[in-house]
Point group: D2
Chain length 223, copies 4
């Protein structure tokens, strides 16, 4: 998986800070202090003014299906209707990579699918129909633009340990890239267990990173 | 492909008519006359008040990927992370169905994929990783809710002859179902070449159903 | 303020329950148990399938401005461009109603505005320009459709004691109306301090209804 | 009315061109040729990747109400709950400016409203309640971010001669500002009568700028 930022709102923190200041007729700060206060107090619409355009490659079509469920973003995706997928690359999950027996089956099937796809296309089947053979593992390339409010929300959901491994890796890499450009925004791109002043896990079963609210309160009581 | 309506806004035409009348402080009609006038004059936000919940089954994951690009709708989809796909059903495109040689290849590969999927799962690979083998053809089940404004827009785009066959078939079937409940709304669910008072094809290459604007004007001039 | 439900998704809880069951290939329950589990575990997109159409009258244009900031809803609003506002009704905030001196000023100004509006219109000024005189207090009528996910989110924000009084009253009344039709959904329409298993105030200054997370933990420690 | 661009997606045309090329696995051009072909053929989601942040001042609250009906944009607005509106500025419509008699009434009422507002605030009425007196004409300041797809759609609707004068002026000024930065995008920011290869008015009554489709065809026939 490779994640690059293709473009973004010029001076993203200043672009948000200026917008936030219009609400209260106040003066922008240089370090995004008003922006941060807005996010912390739940007035997060102000961070919508900054957005980031990511190029994501080496990811599976399965990842694409999950990713596009986030509707508050813009997507341009390599088309399997128009682009030939001869010799397609594919993603191999760690659980299969680490299992030599199953890896053989997996790689063999991918090879066979590639051959069958080419056979169909050579026989005159339109690409948009031949693609029906292509597996979820097939690599794709995505350009996605998300504003900072949705980026923060995306990380709340997808940096959680219970998220599926591929989209979680994507969330982590997206945060790394935003960190280079706007660390003041990246600091809010955390899993949902770290949103409030005291971290707690809101899932039914915690991964162990943080306790549930009930456990925190119970612990305190028993001390 | 099977399309059913699971639920919808009670009395959909009246629900829109009443909303439209609030704008102009006018009296609702029984046949949706004000609603129709609003749609025709581009004041189409009023039809957002009525929505329809469809259950769509026997369609491919390829269709799902196209469908969910329409972001102004709500989706619940059979999960390949949680539901086992042993002996999965699959969609066969007409171009393959009508080509006995290629159909053999196609069916054979589907059978092999099913076996490989089961082998991976039996060997302890999590379903969410084994699904990487599953093809675009794999059948899925979708519950989708769309409001009437987006339904009309969806048909403008997807009833066009240049749309991909599977999503076009879906658009046609969705219209049939809406027709049974709200014909006053269904009459606006047409391909984009039939939106204006005089039909014309806005695509670069017409399918022949309607001429382009330039051709219509040229024809008139040469008569 | 008067809030009525004009229409809604037939059998709203069942419409959500069926959608939720498609995700996991499970069986719908009659009491919305799967729907509730989905909401509690953050899988709240399933409740988008049910929506409610409200008619809201006797509210101010100031309320309208706040309300329409919620972009995930559909609005039809009495138009000040097309509808004459002679003898307009207006909202009086409790703080003014309870202050006889200020109430006199307020009512007097409203009367004068009504006269000035009529004078402009009589002199041939278009309604869309004469409305520039109309105050925020001027009553309006709104038809708004919101799905249950956004309804829940709306209540999290607007039932908070720190929300402005008029929109808070609206949120409370909307909940009451949903309660009559779908109590299984209404039970999630609560202020944000009551979202988690242990209530806490996430605002910087609590209204006193619930303590902040830090205070809860500190209290436990000192016992 | 004053419109400034505060920020925008770096290199907006290139940011779209790169995204469009991912779909077809093609090479970006330097003059946005692929972007333009996409827009012309209705594949307009690609232009969502570029967005523009506008600061709009000297406009009325009436404009704000109309503007925020465009839900696919991000808004930060000067708050009448938090910011004092003593000595507020106000917008005067041309129809009133050009009518000396009515202008006297209008200006007098604005002065009186300002005094009444201050009286209420001095008497301890909260700003959020005193604002109920403030007129639609009251000036506000808005920061709005819109992506290029919505900008194009906004101009289709609001550059139409039948649009209300203040929002039409805004659309024209927004286009002028985008023109300076991305003329390749601004060329698509036109009223809806100029969307297709042959201009025509889709409204029920044309302003005269372009004929209706029926008139164009009838004219051709009678020649």
């Amino acid at each position: 998986m490779k994640v690059e930022i293709l473009s973004y709102t010029n001076d993203p923190v200043a672009s948000v800070e200026k917008a936030a200041c219009v609400c209260y007729d106040s003066q922008p700060t240089e370090d995004g202090r008003i922006m941060k206060a807005c996010i912390k107090s739940g007035h997060s619409s102000v961070v919508e003014h900054a957005s980031f355009e990511f190029e994501i490659s080496g990811v599976s079509r399965a990842l694409l299906a999950q990713l596009t469920r986030h509707r508050l973003a813009s997507y341009s995706v390599r088309s399997q209707r128009y682009v030939a997928e001869d010799n397609f690359s594919y993603v191999t999950p760690p659980s299969i990579k680490n299992n030599p027996d199953q890896l053989v089956t997996y790689d063999f099937m991918m090879k066979k699918l590639g051959e069958a796809y080419q056979a169909l296309v050579s026989a005159g089947i339109p690409k948009e129909d031949a693609r029906m053979l292509l597996p979820n593992a097939c690599e794709t390339k995505i350009v996605m633009t998300m504003n900072a409010r949705e980026l923060i929300n995306f990380c709340h959901e997808r940096m959680c340990s219970r998220a599926q491994w591929e989209i979680r890796e994507l969330a982590v890499k997206m945060k790394e890239k935003v960190q280079e450009i706007a660390p003041e925004i990246a600091e809010f791109m955390v899993p949902k267990c770290e949103v409030y002043e005291i971290p707690f896990c809101p899932e039914r079963k915690s991964c162990g990173r943080h306790k549930s609210l009930k456990e925190i309160v119970k612990d305190e009581q028993s001390e």
